[in-house]
């Protein structure tokens, strides 16, 4: 379960309401419930002693819920760090205006596109502000393999 999956299911139901006025009524129902839960969550976050939420913030469901309602106590940089912590990537930079997050692979291992999907899924829970990911190639290895060993170096 995640905000994304829930949203997709809601969307599917709303899309099936085609008769005049039904989709609008459906949206109103969702809005009413979301407003209620959102207000309750906001109060909860406000009244909790500081720091109590911190151990929960690595949980994707909790983090996603708090982020959806703009109640997450951490800023976007910290949340991105949380999202990518389990993956072999590091953050190069995040552009708030475009929503583009630049990442770099840490190890030379062959992280395929499925690993990237996991990163994106984690990002959408922790940091929905990220709308696109840019993956830098790992830096070129320092050691150049030439045709001949550099003989001059050995003399020194």
């Amino acid at each position: 379960m995640s905000a994304e999956l829930t949203g997709l299911r809601v969307k599917e139901v709303l899309d099936s309401l085609t008769a005049s006025g039904q989709a609008e009524a459906g949206e109103v129902l969702v809005r009413e419930l979301m407003a209620f839960y959102s207000a309750g969550l906001a109060r909860l976050v406000e009244l909790l002693p500081p720091g109590v939420l911190t151990p929960l913030l690595d949980d994707r469901l909790v983090a996603g819920l708090l982020a959806l309602h703009d109640l997450h106590p951490e800023d976007v940089t910290a949340r991105i760090a949380r999202a990518v912590a389990d993956f072999a990537v590091e953050v190069v930079g995040f552009d708030r205006d475009s929503g583009v997050l630049a990442l770099r692979k840490v190890s030379g291992c062959g992280c395929g596109s499925s690993a990237m999907e996991d990163v994106e899924s984690a990002l959408s829970c922790h940091a929905p502000e990220v709308t696109a990911v840019e993956l830098e190639r790992p830096p070129a290895p320092l050691l150049q393999i030439g045709a001949r060993p550099p003989a001059a170096a050995e003399v020194r």
């Binding site: 997709l8 969702v30 840019e134 190639r137």
Partner: protein
């Protein structure tokens, strides 16, 4: 190096539905076309209700006998008669418990009906229509009043009595605004500010009656 977009339609939908719904554009009660703000209304004389109309549908109901006269287009005129001689004692004879009220002539009941804004919406005065007829009936504005679609709007102020002939839909607009902003026993400062700005707009739009007669 290309940025790979993350598509999250489900989350986007939930984020959108988190916010209160944007105001829905009003639609013509007859053909369903979307209407801009400031559109016209017709009075449903059977149900004593207002319906929003587009100009085309409003024109249809102007044809004599259309829908057996059930729908009547609300006119667009605002009139004032600075020479009206209504005073404080006249207001008291109307026995309106608040500072503002409007009166319209109901064709079905063949009498004046008095309504005033309240936190519960338009409230009808149950008092004697004969008195209203006697007090207001002798004014020039009352002589021009179109039944069902126009109203005589009165407000008691510290300076005296404001008196206008207005389209009936604006009276219900006033009732709606009062209901929205009403706080406490007497309406509170926001309701009073709404009332002031409403009457300022009415006064601005109103033509002085003497000119109307000269035309």
């Amino acid at each position: 190096m290309n940025a790979r977009p993350i598509s999250r339609p489900g989350s986007a939908l939930l984020r959108r539905l988190r916010e209160p719904a944007p105001p829905q554009p009003e639609r013509c009660g007859f053909c369903g076309v979307r209407l801009p703000s400031g559109h016209r209304h017709v009075v449903d004389t059977d149900d004593r209700a207002l319906a929003c109309t587009c100009p085309a549908c409003a024109m249809l109901f102007e044809t004599p006998g259309a829908a057996e006269g059930r729908y009547r287009k609300v006119p667009d005129r605002y009139l004032m008669d600075p020479a009206h001689e209504l005073g404080r004692s006249d207001w008291e004879s109307l026995q309106i418990p608040v500072s503002t009220a409007f009166f319209f002539r109901n064709t079905a009941l063949r009498r004046l009906i008095a309504l005033y804004p309240s936190p519960a919406g338009p409230t009808e005065s149950e008092l004697d229509p004969q008195t209203w007829e006697f007090t207001l009936g002798r004014t020039r504005l009352a002589g021009l009043l179109e039944p069902d679609v126009e109203a005589l709007l009165l407000r008691r102020t510290t300076e005296g009595l404001q008196y206008f002939l207005v389209p009936i839909d604006v009276c219900y607009e006033l009732v709606g605004r009062m209901r929205l902003h009403w706080q406490g026993f007497d309406g509170g400062s926001r309701a009073r500010a709404e009332l002031d700005s409403f009457f300022a707009r009415v006064e601005q739009r109103a033509r002085v009656l003497a000119q109307e007669v000269a035309l």
